[in-house]
C-alpha cells in the first residue's frame, strides 16, 4: 500500500473535520452534525491505518527501525542547515497509528451518546478531531521538531478539552494547570533538542545524517552531555506522561469530559511521552536510562499507592494511568523497548475501556441524579469534583455523587455490559495471566527488568523490579476495589441506583470492541512479530572509557558500573547464549510471581471489599492516629514541606496527602511566588527604577533649568557680573591650561 498518500489521508481527514468547523464558526454558525463529520473522518483514518498496517504484515522485517521508510521534505531550508519535516513509517508507527485511530474512533462513537445534548456539542467533536490530527502527526513525524510540534498541539487540544466546560472554575483551573505543567517539561525537552541540534546540526532522527546515525559515532567524552540531553528530552515525556514530579495535572484533568479522559488522558496523549522516550531509545545512555527507569518505577509505585485511597472513580483511573505509564517508562529505562511499547498498546485499549466504562457509569448515575435533582441538566455536572476539597480521601464532601464510588455498588445488575467489559479491562490491568493482554505486557516488563538485574547484577534493577512488582500488587488491589465497590455488593445509594440504567448502544459498542481488544490475541501477535528492538550503542560505551582510564575498580563499587561491567561481559562472551539463559531465568521467576501478584492483589481486595472479611474502615481506624495527627496538622505540613518527603514511607494515604500538599504546593507556591513576587517586583522595578531613573534625569534637567532660570534674576548688574566674571573665568581657566 502506498505510504505517503495513506498517511496524508490519515492526517488530513481529522484536520479537515476541524477546519470545517473552524471556518464555519467564523461566520457565526455551527453545523449540528459535526459529530458525524468528525466520526467519519476518524473512521476514514482508521481504515487507512489498517491499510497501512498491511504493509507491515507484508514485510515484517523490512519495516523495523533499520528499514524505516522516511518521506521527508525540507521544511525550513536555512541554507547550510535544513530542517525537514516528514513521515517516518515503520512498524512502531503502524502500530501507533492503529492504536490511536481505533481508540479515537471508538471514543468518537461513544461521545455521540455521552455528549448528547451539550450546548457545545459540535465544538467537542471538532476539538476531538484536532486532537486526533495532532496525535497522529506526532506519531508519524520523522524528526524531533515534528514530534515537538505534534507534542505541543496535543497539549493545546488537551487544554481545550479539559477546559471544555469552562464556565466552571475547576475545569478552567485544571486546563491551565495541565498546559503549564506539561510546558515545564516541554521546555526541558526543547533544551534537549537544542543540545542535540547544536551537536548534530539536525533534528531528524533516522537516515545517514540523522541524529541516531551521528550519535552512534560519539565517543566516551560525549557521554555526559548525551546523558543530559537524553534526560532533558525525557523531561518532555515526564510532563506529558504525568510522571513524578510533574504528574499532578493528570488527576485534575479529569475535570474534562470522560471521553476526553479516555482518549487523551489514558490512551494516547499521555502515552506520547512513552512513545517519545522509545523513539529516543538509540541515544539513551546508561545514565539516562537509569534515570528514566527510576522515574518510571517510582511513579508506578507512588501513583498506585495514591489510587488506593481515592473514592472518585475517575481519579482512581487517573492515578492508575500514571502508574501504568510509569511501568512503560520503567521498561524503556530498563532497556526494553518492546515491552514498553507493548504495554503502551495494551494499556491504551484497556484503560480507554475503563474510562469509557466509568463514563458509562457516570452517565448512568448522572441520569439517576438528574431524575433526582432537576436543576442539573448537563452531562458535565456528572464530572465535577471540587478540586479544592483535599479531604476527598477522608470525607465524601466535594466529590460529585455521580463519581463517588461510595454511592455505587451492585451496578452489575443494572449495567451488565458495562460491568462485563470493565471487568475484562480490570482483569487485564491486574495482569491475570495468559488470558488478558495486560498480563503479557506487564509480564514482559517485569521479565525485562529482572533480566537486567540478573544479567548485569545491577542493584538498581533489583530495586526497580521490587517496585514494579509491588506496584503490580497494588494495581490489582485498587482496580478490584473499584470493581467491587462499583458493581458488586449492594447498592449504597438506592435512589441513584434506581435511576441508573445501561448506556445506549452507541456507548456500549465501543466498550465491547475495546473489551475484545483487551484480550491478548491482537496485541501480542503484532508486537512479537513486527517490532524489533533498536541498538543502543551507548549503553556500553562508558565501560570502555572506564577500563581505559583504569578507574574500573572505583566505578565498580557503584551499581551502574556493575551493570555495565556485566553487560560488557555479556557482550564479550557469547552474548546470545548468555542472553537466553538469563532471560529464561527471569521468565521463570516472573511468571509464577505474576500469579502470586494477582492472587494477593485481587484476594486482598476481595477480602476487604467483597467478602468484607476486613473492614477498610477498621484498618483506617487503626491508622487513624497517624491520620488524625496529619490531618489536624494541616499547617504543619505546609510549614515542613520538606519533612513530608520522609513521611511518604508512612503509607499510601500519606502519599495521597503528599500529592495534594507537596507537589501541588510547590507548583502553586512557585506560581504564587513567581506571580506575586518576581513579576510584581519586576513591575515595581520597572515603574520605580528604570522609569524612575529616566524621570530622575528629567527631574535633574528640570531642576537645572530652574536654577538657570533663577540666575536670570532680572537685575542687570547680576548679568553684568556674569559677563565680567565669565570673562575672568574663561581667562583663568585657559590660562591654567596653557
Amino acid at each position: 500500500m502506498p505510504i505517503v498518500p495513506l498517511i496524508s489521508i490519515i492526517l488530513l481527514a481529522p484536520l479537515a473535520a476541524f477546519a470545517f468547523f473552524a471556518l464555519l464558526s467564523l461566520t457565526g454558525r455551527n453545523y449540528s452534525r459535526q459529530d458525524l463529520v468528525s466520526t467519519v473522518a476518524m473512521l476514514i483514518a482508521f481504515v487507512c491505518a489498517v491499510l497501512l498496517f498491511t504493509n507491515v504484515v507484508a514485510e515484517p522485517d523490512k519495516l523495523s527501525h533499520d528499514g524505516a521508510e522516511i518521506h521527508s521534505l525540507t521544511w525550513l531550508p536555512l541554507g547550510s542547515v535544513n530542517f525537514s519535516m516528514g513521515f517516518l513509517f515503520d512498524s512502531v508507527t503502524a502500530v501507533m497509528l492503529l492504536v490511536v485511530t481505533i481508540v479515537s474512533s471508538l471514543v468518537h462513537i461513544f461521545s455521540i451518546g455521552y455528549m448528547h445534548g451539550d450546548p457545545r456539542y459540535p465544538r467537542f467533536f471538532a476539538f476531538l478531531s484536532l486532537f486526533s490530527f495532532s496525535m497522529l502527526f506526532l506519531v508519524v513525524s520523522d524528526n524531533l521538531l515534528g514530534i515537538y510540534i505534534g507534542w505541543e498541539l496535543v497539549g493545546v487540544c488537551s487544554y481545550l478539552l479539559i477546559g471544555f466546560w469552562f464556565e466552571e472554575d475547576a475545569p478552567a483551573n485544571a486546563c491551565k494547570k495541565a498546559f503549564m505543567t506539561t510546558r515545564v517539561g516541554d521546555v526541558g525537552m526543547f533544551i534537549g533538542m537544542m543540545m542535540l541540534f547544536t551537536k548534530f546540526r539536525t533534528l531528524s532522527l533516522y537516515g545517514d545524517e540523522g541524529i541516531f546515525a551521528l550519535a552512534s559515532n560519539l565517543t566516551a567524552g560525549d557521554m555526559t552531555w548525551l546523558s543530559v540531553a537524553g534526560v532533558l528530552i525525557f523531561c518532555g515525556a515526564v510532563g506529558k506522561s504525568a510522571q513524578i514530579p510533574l504528574h499532578t495535572w493528570l488527576p485534575d484533568a479529569m475535570e474534562g469530559p470522560t471521553p476526553v479522559s479516555a482518549l487523551i488522558h489514558a490512551a494516547t496523549m499521555v502515552a506520547a511521552g512513552v512513545y517519545l522516550t522509545a523513539r529516543m531509545f538509540p541515544i539513551l545512555t546508561a545514565d539516562s536510562s537509569l534515570v528514566i527507569a527510576y522515574v518510571g518505577g517510582i511513579t508506578a509505585l507512588v501513583a498506585a499507592t495514591i489510587a488506593i485511597v481515592r473514592f472518585d472513580i475517575k481519579r482512581v483511573l487517573a492515578y492508575s494511568t500514571i502508574s501504568q505509564l510509569g511501568f512503560m517508562m520503567l521498561a524503556i529505562g530498563a532497556g526494553s523497548y518492546i515491552a514498553g511499547l507493548f504495554h503502551l498498546t495494551t494499556h491504551a485499549f484497556f484503560k480507554a475501556l475503563l474510562f469509557l466504562g466509568s463514563g458509562s457509569v457516570i452517565h448512568a448515575f448522572h441520569a439517576a441524579h438528574h431524575a433526582h435533582d432537576h436543576d442539573h441538566d448537563h452531562a458535565h455536572d456528572a464530572d465535577r469534583e471540587d478540586t479544592d476539597t483535599h479531604a476527598a480521601a477522608f470525607d465524601s464532601f466535594g466529590i460529585d455523587p455521580a463519581q463517588d464510588m461510595r454511592h455505587m455498588g451492585g451496578l452489575r445488575h443494572k449495567m451488565p455490559i458495562t460491568f462485563v467489559t470493565m471487568l475484562i479491562a480490570t482483569l487485564s490491568i491486574a495482569g491475570v495471566p495468559y488470558i488478558f493482554s495486560g498480563f503479557w505486557s506487564k509480564d514482559a516488563i517485569l521479565v525485562e527488568v529482572l533480566y537486567r538485574a540478573i544479567s548485569w547484577g545491577s542493584v538498581h534493577h533489583y530495586i526497580l523490579f521490587g517496585m514494579a512488582a509491588l506496584a503490580a500488587v497494588i494495581t490489582a488491589f485498587y482496580m478490584f476495589r473499584l470493581i467491587f465497590m462499583t458493581f458488586m455488593g449492594e447498592p449504597r445509594n438506592q435512589e441513584m441506583y434506581d435511576g441508573a440504567h445501561e448506556s445506549p448502544l452507541k456507548m456500549a459498542i465501543p466498550l465491547i470492541i475495546l473489551a475484545v481488544l483487551s484480550f491478548p490475541i491482537v496485541n501480542k501477535w503484532s508486537f512479537e512479530k513486527y517490532v524489533k528492538q533498536p541498538e543502543q550503542p551507548h549503553i556500553h560505551l562508558p565501560k570502555h572509557a572506564m577500563y581505559e582510564s583504569g578507574q574500573g575498580a572505583l566505578q565498580a563499587q557503584l551499581g551502574i558500573s556493575d551493570a555495565q561491567a556485566a553487560a560488557e561481559d555479556v557482550h564479550h562472551d557469547d552474548a546470545a547464549a548468555h542472553h537466553d539463559s538469563d532471560h529464561d531465568k527471569a521468565h521463570n521467576i516472573v511468571v509464577p510471581l505474576s500469579f502470586v501478584i494477582v492472587i494477593i492483589g485481587i484476594g486482598l481486595s476481595a477480602l476487604f471489599y467483597y467478602w468484607k472479611r476486613f473492614s477498610a474502615d477498621a484498618v483506617a481506624a487503626r491508622l487513624r492516629p497517624i491520620y488524625t495527627l496529619l490531618w489536624n496538622k494541616y499547617y504543619f505540613d505546609e510549614l515542613y514541606d520538606g519533612v513530608l518527603v520522609a513521611l511518604t514511607v508512612a503509607g499510601s494515604k500519606v502519599l495521597g496527602l503528599f500529592d495534594l500538599r507537596f507537589i501541588d504546593g510547590i507548583v502553586n507556591g512557585v506560581g504564587v511566588v513567581v506571580q506575586a513576587g518576581c513579576s510584581r517586583i519586576a513591575g515595581w522595578f520597572d515603574n520605580t527604577f528604570v522609569d524612575g531613573l529616566v524621570n530622575w534625569v528629567a527631574k535633574i534637567t528640570w531642576a537645572v533649568g530652574g536654577r538657570i532660570r533663577r540666575v536670570q534674576t532680572g537685575m542687570i548688574q547680576n548679568y553684568l557680573l556674569a559677563v565680567v566674571g565669565g570673562v575672568v573665568l574663561l581667562i583663568l581657566i585657559f590660562r591654567a591650561l596653557f
Binding site: T701, W702, V704, G705, G706, I708, R709, V711, Q712, G714, I716, N718, Y719, L720, A722, V723, V724, G725, G726, V727, L729, L730, I731, F734, R735, L737, F738
Partner: protein, 485 residues
C-alpha cells in the same frame, strides 16, 4: 581701493542710508501718519539694496583703503540680513503693538540697523568693527525700547543698553590691547603680525588671550553666547515681537559674520598658542545647554524662543570652533535655515499675540481647532527647530554635526545632540498645547490672506530645504570664498 573708487561698490549701503532718510521725510510729509507707505518704502529700499549688492557682485575687493571688504561672504550675509529685515518690516506692518505714529522713524531705524549689519559683515578694520557693532547696538537699543506704554519695553531697552555698553566697552579695551600689540587696526595685518610674533616667540600669550576674551565679550554679546547671553531673554521678552524676531535672526547672523571674519581672518594664527577654538567650543557647549535648560520651564513663548535662540547660537558656534571650511559652511547653511524657521515661529507668535492677545503657552491651547493652518505651520517651525527630518532644521543640524564629527569633537557632538533632545521637550510643550489640549475659547480665528501668504513664505522653505538642500551647500561653499585659506 581708494575712497572715491570704492563708492560704486558701496552703493547698497548708500541706498540704505538714502532710503532711511527718505522714509523719515516721507513720513513727515505724508498726511496720514502711521500709514503703511513708510514700510513699503523701506521694503523697496531693502530690495534695491539687495539687488544692488547682487549686481555689484562678489568679486573680492578691499574698499576704502582696507576698511571694509566686498566679497561673497559679505554678500551672503547682506542677503540674509536683508531678508530678515524685510521680514521684520512685513511683520511690523501686521503688528498691533507698535505705535502707528512713530512707524516712520521705526522703519528708518530698521534701515539704519541694516546698514550697520552690512558693515558688520564686511568690516576688516578694528575701528570699523567697533563702529558697525555700535551702530547696530545703538539702533537696537532704541528699537527694543520702542513701545509706548510698555514698561517692559523700556526695561528691555535699559537692560540692553547697559549690558551692551559694558560688553562693547570691554571689547574696545580688548581691541586696544590688540592694537597695542600689533600696531595696526587692519585685521589682515594683525593676522600676519600675530603670526610673526608667535613664530618669533615675541609675544606674551596671556595678553593675546586677554584681548581675545575681551573681544569675545563684544562678539558674544551680539550672538548671545554664554555668559554674554543674559540680556537676551529679558530683551526678547520686552521688545516688540518683530524686533525680537529681528534680533534673534539678523543680529545673530551679523554677529556671526563679524565673529567669523574677525576670528578667522584676524586671529586664526593666534589659535596655535592661545587655543581660542577650544575656549569657544566650551562656550558653545555651555551656550546650548544653558539655553535649552533655561527654556524648559518657560511659559512665555517669546521668552522660550529667546532661550531657544540662545541655544541655537550655541549650535552655530559649534561650527565656528572647528577652524575648517566645513564648519563655516555649516554656520552659513544653518543660518539660512534658522532664518526661515525662527522668523516663521516668531511670525506665528505675532499673529497669535494679535488675535489671542497672549504670549504665553496657555494662549496656544487648542489652536489646531481654532486656526489649523497656523497651528500646523507652528508645529513645522518648532519641529524644524528641534531638527527633525525631513524638515529644514534637520539639514542644518546634519551639516553642522557632520562638520563637528569630522574634526572628531565627539564630546561636543554628543552634547549638542543631547541638547536637541532636551530642546524637543520644550518645543513640544507648545505643540502639545496647540494640538493635544483644548481651548477655553473655541471660536475659530481668522487671518488676512496676506498674513497666510507670508506664513507660507516661511513654511515652504522650511519644508523644501529639508528635502533638498544641495543648493544650500553649493551656495555656502561659494559664499565662503577665499575666507578660509
Amino acid at each position: 581701493m581708494p575712497n572715491i573708487a570704492s563708492i560704486p561698490y558701496f552703493i547698497p549701503e548708500i541706498v540704505l542710508v538714502v532710503f532711511a532718510v527718505v522714509v523719515i521725510l516721507f513720513d513727515l510729509a505724508s498726511k496720514k501718519r502711521g500709514g503703511e507707505g513708510a514700510a513699503y518704502l523701506a521694503l523697496i529700499g531693502l530690495v534695491v539694496a539687495v539687488i544692488a549688492a547682487i549686481v555689484i557682485g562678489s568679486e573680492d575687493r578691499s574698499l576704502f583703503l582696507g576698511m571694509v571688504r566686498l566679497d561673497s561672504f559679505a554678500l551672503f550675509f547682506k542677503v540674509i540680513i536683508s531678508v530678515a529685515t524685510a521680514a521684520t518690516v512685513l511683520f511690523s506692518i501686521r503688528s498691533v503693538e507698535l505705535d502707528p505714529a512713530t512707524k516712520g522713524e521705526y522703519y528708518a531705524l530698521l534701515l539704519a540697523v541694516t546698514l550697520g549689519m552690512y558693515l558688520m559683515a564686511s568690516s576688516t578694520h578694528l575701528l570699523m568693527i567697533y563702529l558697525s557693532l555700535e551702530t547696530v547696538s545703538l539702533t537696537s537699543y532704541i528699537l527694543a525700547g520702542f513701545l509706548t506704554h510698555s514698561p517692559r519695553s523700556s526695561e528691555a531697552a535699559f537692560k540692553y543698553i547697559t549690558f551692551g555698553a559694558v560688553s562693547s566697552g570691554t571689547m574696545l579695551f580688548g581691541i586696544s590691547l590688540l592694537f597695542g600689540m600689533t600696531g595696526t587696526g587692519d585685521i589682515m595685518l594683525i593676522s600676519s603680525r600675530l603670526g610673526e610674533m608667535f613664530s618669533q616667540g615675541n609675544v606674551y600669550p596671556l595678553a593675546v588671550l586677554l584681548s581675545i576674551t575681551f573681544i569675545l565679550a563684544g562678539v558674544g554679546y551680539k550672538i548671545a553666547s554664554v555668559p554674554f547671553h543674559m540680556w537676551s531673554p529679558d530683551v526678547y521678552e520686552g521688545a516688540p515681537i518683530p524686533i525680537t524676531a529681528f534680533l534673534s535672526v539678523a543680529s545673530k547672523a551679523a554677529g556671526f559674520a563679524l565673529f567669523i571674519r574677525l576670528f578667522y581672518s584676524g586671529l586664526q594664527s593666534a589659535d596655535a598658542s592661545v587655543d581660542w577654538s577650544l575656549m569657544l567650543a566650551v562656550v558653545s557647549a555651555l551656550t546650548m545647554t544653558v539655553g535649552n535648560l533655561a527654556a524648559l520651564p518657560q511659559q512665555n513663548v517669546k521668552r522660550l524662543l529667546a532661550y531657544s535662540s540662545i541655544s541655537h547660537g550655541g549650535f552655530l558656534l559649534m561650527g565656528g570652533v572647528l577652524l575648517t571650511s566645513e564648519g563655516l559652511q555649516a554656520i552659513l547653511i544653518y543660518l539660512i535655515i534658522y532664518l526661515f524657521m525662527n522668523l516663521g515661529a516668531f511670525f506665528v507668535v505675532i499673529l497669535i499675540a494679535n488675535e489671542v492677545g497672549s504670549e504665553t503657552i496657555d494662549g496656544y491651547r487648542g489652536l489646531v481647532s481654532r486656526a489649523p493652518l497656523i497651528a500646523v505651520s507652528m508645529a513645522i517651525f518648532l519641529f524644524s527647530l528641534t531638527g527633525l527630518p525631513p524638515l529644514a532644521g534637520f539639514a542644518g543640524k546634519w551639516i553642522l554635526f557632520a562638520a563637528v564629527i569630522k574634526e572628531q569633537l565627539y564630546w561636543l557632538a554628543i552634547i549638542g545632540l543631547l541638547n536637541s533632545v532636551v530642546a524637543l521637550y520644550y518645543y513640544v510643550r507648545i505643540v502639545k498645547a496647540m494640538f493635544l489640549e483644548t481651548a477655553d475659547d473655541t471660536e475659530s480665528l481668522s487671518f488676512s490672506t496676506g498674513s497666510l501668504v507670508l506664513l507660507l513664505v516661511f513654511v515652504v522653505p522650511t519644508l523644501l530645504l529639508g528635502i533638498y538642500w544641495n543648493p544650500l551647500y553649493e551656495l555656502s561653499r561659494a559664499s565662503l570664498g577665499k575666507l578660509m585659506g
